[in-house]
Symmetry: C2
Subunit: 195 residues, 2 copies
Amino acid sequence: MSMIVEILKQRIRQEGRNLGGGILKVDSFLNHQVDATLMMLVGKEIARRMGRLGATKVLTAEISGIAPALMTAWALDVPVVYARKHKPVTMPERVYVQQAPSHTKGGGVELMVSPEFLGPGDQVLIVDDFLATGRTISALVGLVRQSGATLVGIGAVIEKRFEGGRAGLEGLGVPIEALVVVERMEGDEIVFAEE
Amino acid sequence: MSMIVEILKQRIRQEGRNLGGGILKVDSFLNHQVDATLMMLVGKEIARRMGRLGATKVLTAEISGIAPALMTAWALDVPVVYARKHKPVTMPERVYVQQAPSHTKGGGVELMVSPEFLGPGDQVLIVDDFLATGRTISALVGLVRQSGATLVGIGAVIEKRFEGGRAGLEGLGVPIEALVVVERMEGDEIVFAEE
């Protein structure tokens, strides 16, 4: 097991909090405060595992996916595109759009990517902070399809296996890697899957 | 002048678009698609210029500030906190809040930081993608003050000098650095300030 996996588990054990309802709070190093050094190791490890796939672009969703995706993109030496939830004035009229769940409001949110930055020539590695229900990642897969690009793999920092998202993504036939897999959470105890 | 400044100017000249109303579109390397290698150079350059200030934390605003702020934090070996615009379920009830302008909807948006990650012990370097009217950065300064932390400097990738934000921030008495300063935009021509 690589060093970063052990470090991540330790940080999750020490700083992660089970808020109930399947929610794992890791705001101290991944979601609100970001440990930049840790994130660099995360990016390098995802790149090490998935570099052979020949990605020409990393795709993620704003907001929490940006840090691990940027570091992965840096390690792979390719650009990263982050799908937007609100259309900025700089975005063209016609964009690719997919529905995704909202983590803040409940209900849904739109994820948008400009055709300027995703197209048939791209080999896309999707990277997100969590693989949970898989619905955000499925929305990103939908954007890849709309653009005519090719999906080559899916990477996540933390998988919450008890939310079952991986099963729905395996039919895509691309490698799926999560650096750390949480099997279940019981009170204060966070139980990792056996390697 | 350092290499990264020349590279940034070249990218802005080649890929930047003046959309009118003071809006400079740089979606191909900074705001929607991010050039990770470029962003690493940006982070190192901000760190080189401001490392002497002894920052213990980098503070930015989601979304577009995250990439340059993360790379700066990496280069300084400190954590980065990104102020949130929507309260995730993991955020505590009581947070620091400041009003900031919205880039997508017009009107305003709230910027929030959890007291868990910003407090009296922190020396804060604010890093954002743009220094324009200065209102987003002023909101971040407000969050630093609310938390009891100390502001030590302000860094931005691109300053739009014609929007005048710097003047309002100079009274803070901390160093302000922008890697590239746009003096004005005339049609397709983007004019940089003299060094």
